[in-house]
Amino acid sequence: LAKTTQPISMDSYEGQEVNITCSHNNIATNDYITWYQQFPSQGPRFIIQGYKTKVTNEVASLFIPADRKSSTLSLPRVSLSDTAVYYCLVTSSGSARQLTFGSGTQLTVLP
């Protein structure tokens, strides 16, 4: 299982772009990188997923360099409602998939 490392916390102001980087040095060839967002008292929810290069959806972009040892979640023009904990997870298919989360990154958006 690829272990992930993220910053514990980040602050930003409304309207700014926020980039959160996750390190996953031991990622395997068939692994995917998935990011989740969690608000207080709620379960995490899927934001974006990628395998390589760049992925973009209506919420965020995900940048993955060629060596895939890290990934960066980019949130354009954040608002107060983007204040949450963000987790990156590396997943692979297989018969025994023990999915453990890291500490996540607490993003606080200030007015």
């Binding site: 068939n30 692994d31 995917y32 998935t34 989740y36 008292s41 709620q42 379960g43 995490p44 929810r45 899927f46 997923q49 395998y51 904990v85 987790y87 997870l89 997943t91 692979s92 298919s93 297989g94 018969s95 025994a96 998939r97 023990q98 999915l99 453990t100 989360f101 890291g102 500490s103 996540g104």
Partner: protein
Amino acid sequence: NAGVTQTPKFRILKIGQSMTLQCTQDMNHNYMYWYRQDPGMGLKLIYYSVGAGITDKGEVPNGYNVSRSTTEDFPLRLELAAPSQTSVYFCASTRDRANSPLHFGNGTRLTVT
């Protein structure tokens, strides 16, 4: 489409009591998970299952038991509740594919006093 449903939403237990947290999913997912989350902390994996009849321990299994008799249901049992088990419990499910995201329930907030 209900997704992952957890019951109850809230529960208060006395020390030594037992209870079962229910989790059911209607997406025909093979993989199911139980996590606990203490205040201000991340998610810790308690148990997981890769299919009916198969369960395995996660990071923090002590004090809990699980069973998986059907694809849909994955109940979590607390036999002798302790204050250290005060937490929010989340159930999740996914398919057996690397690019299949986790679907979480809304959680059960448990207080043991």
